[in-house]
Symmetry: C2
């Protein structure tokens, strides 16, 4: 096993919270949107999983960079970028929305925050949506201003999130419903706070609008969080897989369409939207998808990380048979006492209960069963 040290440079941007996570002993990072995403602290992923389900965690997710789009053509451009119908959205709404290209391939899957009728922010996964949006706008001659603002999300996740957030921001925080946001004061300036986040344990995302306040915001929440057994954390691989939360670049790439990724509910294909890829997605829907994202439970020792897709084969096949699917993310679940995975499964092999073989990167062949998402 080789060591995977991450070499640091300015190109891999630090966040307003990096000093704080360093002080708390961060041990590992990933890189998202050219920015550090803390991924490991002193405790194990399993231990963090149990903690996240019982208490509250603070996550530096500043790498969810913001693409700010405003101007006379802002609403038209944002609608052009997604097959989800945005026409009924109101200011204060968060909308999970796949962005697709002209073939229906997924470009990103941001949460779109509607700030005003002519002002949107896309809180993005790992691809340069800023360049995509700017290219479209420049090519089409649209009247918009597109930029990356000084906005850095900090996530408070876990069942005690509401209690902690109300201690810091007041009781009004409890009124924010799921996927809604409101503005709150911190140190004299105003910040968007949404009820959202990359877990299934309830929580909030604070869109800090001034990176100079990062350390103060972290400290304030950290101190108030002591009463709630707070820990530094990060999106938890086990909890995310169990919850069926997809990750752009892992479960879906530009070679996938939202229909096979289980995102049909976010594609309003029956409505006459002027959106890129709408025709392609309607054609895919009419022809029928050929594969679909599924859960997979499989046995054996706790599996290694999935760094390249693992082939899934039919239970009665041999090792050289064509795969019938592929695992894209996997982890050992201490709660289910089995390995859990997200997998793209071909037609004929995607029914829950289907028995398959998983060929994990450690050269083990493991017996598995297809599951619905989220896992029970």
């Amino acid at each position: 096993m080789t060591t995977n040290h991450l070499n640091l440079s300015r190109r891999i941007r630090r966040t307003p919270f990096t000093e704080k996570v360093e002080a708390l002993g961060v041990r590992g990072y990933s890189v998202v949107n050219h920015m550090l995403l803390p991924k490991a602290f002193a405790t194990s992923v399993e231990d963090d999983y149990w903690h996240l389900r019982a208490h509250v965690q603070m996550w530096d997710v500043a790498c969810q960079r913001q693409v700010d789009i405003r101007g006379a053509d802002a609403a038209r451009l944002v609608q052009w970028m997604t097959p989800r119908n945005l026409s009924k959205a109101r200011a204060g709404d968060c909308l999970y929305a796949p962005l697709v290209d002209e073939s229906g391939g997924i470009i990103n899957d941001p949460v779109i925050l509607k700030l005003a009728s002519d002002h949107f922010r896309l809180s993005i996964a790992d691809s340069d949506v800023l360049l995509w949006a700017k290219g479209l706008a420049l090519g089409a001659g649209m009247d918009v201003v597109i930029e990356e603002p000084d906005v850095s999300p900090l996530a408070i996740q876990g069942p005690r999130a509401e209690a902690l957030m109300s201690a810091v921001f007041g009781e009004r925080i409890r009124e924010i419903r799921f996927f809604k946001f409101a503005r709150f004061e911190f140190m004299g300036s105003s910040h968007v706070i949404a009820r959202s986040g990359y877990s299934r344990q309830d929580g909030f995302e604070i869109y800090l609008e001034d990176s100079r306040l990062g350390a103060a915001l972290w400290d304030r929440l950290w101190e108030a969080g002591q009463a709630f057994n707070i820990r530094p954390g990060c999106p938890n691989l086990i909890e995310r897989i169990e919850g069926g939360l997809l990750s752009y670049g892992n479960e879906m790439t530009r070679k996938n369409n939202p229909l096979e990724c289980g995102l049909a509910a976010f594609c309003d294909l029956d409505e006459p939207l002027d959106c890129i890829g709408g025709g392609a997605l309607r054609a895919i829907k009419a022809a029928g998808i050929t594969r679909q994202i599924r859960g997979l439970i499989f046995d054996g020792d706790p599996c290694p990380p999935c760094a390249t897709p693992w082939p899934v084969r039919r239970a009665q096949g041999n090792d050289r048979a064509a795969p019938v699917g592929e695992v894209t993310s996997a982890a050992y679940s201490p709660r289910l006492r089995a390995n859990v995975a997200l997998a793209m499964m071909n037609n004929g092999f995607r029914a829950p209960g289907e028995r398959v073989l998983v060929h994990s990167a450690d050269s083990q062949t493991r017996a598995g069963v297809v599951s619905a998402l989220p896992f029970a």
Copy 2:
């Protein structure tokens, strides 16, 4: 000091050469274009520096992803993306070319390979040029096909590069002049080989066109390279700084224009090109730039990596005075027996010989002198 382990997932893509660099004991990575870039092996950066200047190294630079643009409007689109005049380029030319946005801010600085009059490949630095190009083309309704092909650059760098390459690909390799390319056979398929690379030590980049051949290509060069004292390597920070080679995301971002980055020679602003940002760059040129990239030599212990820009202040100022520049990359040069850096220096402080103070991340204040680029 915290540990910076890189957490692996499918989203951080492996390359066709990753297994080989793992077998050779890679110790550190960076992430470029959502892909692994090996950055450290068993030997030190200083040792690798001396080796690169004397022998030959093989670098996995598959992260220099390719943006393939072809079709009736390909030449028009590529010209639209850069202020460099491409009209005289011929098939077989490599052209270093800044890409800029409508304000003249740098989007990327690829090497453009002209394959045919209607077919270009952009070998890119760390930003999603594919999305930028697709956005522009879709917005403007251009007749082009844009995709990321299965092409993975492998660099052979160092003074013995030509000897090694001719041993593997034949004597014809010696005829390739700097920033030209030709096609060569390997295992029955054809691959572009260019005389180019991210060092000042001569060398080649092999654009492997089939990732399944990655291991075989690596092995073939590794075996032939034994006679030339070959090592696995990576872009060497010391050699790159001394050579004045800029790194997108480090020395230049979208907040920089090519004129202040010393790239005026690649901006044909006096010619009537239909290019994005041409007007903005002409206005910047007319008003005069306010800062410029420079070398900087400074004393003290070998400096730490530069993970955020370090302030540079006037030699007679105090620690609270406004910076007059910033260091963006720095390393200790064992040849010059001093620290060397690339720095963006304000007007009035950018003349070679100017004495300044560098405030490095280790809280040291170091005496420095501005230098021309490349370093002597």
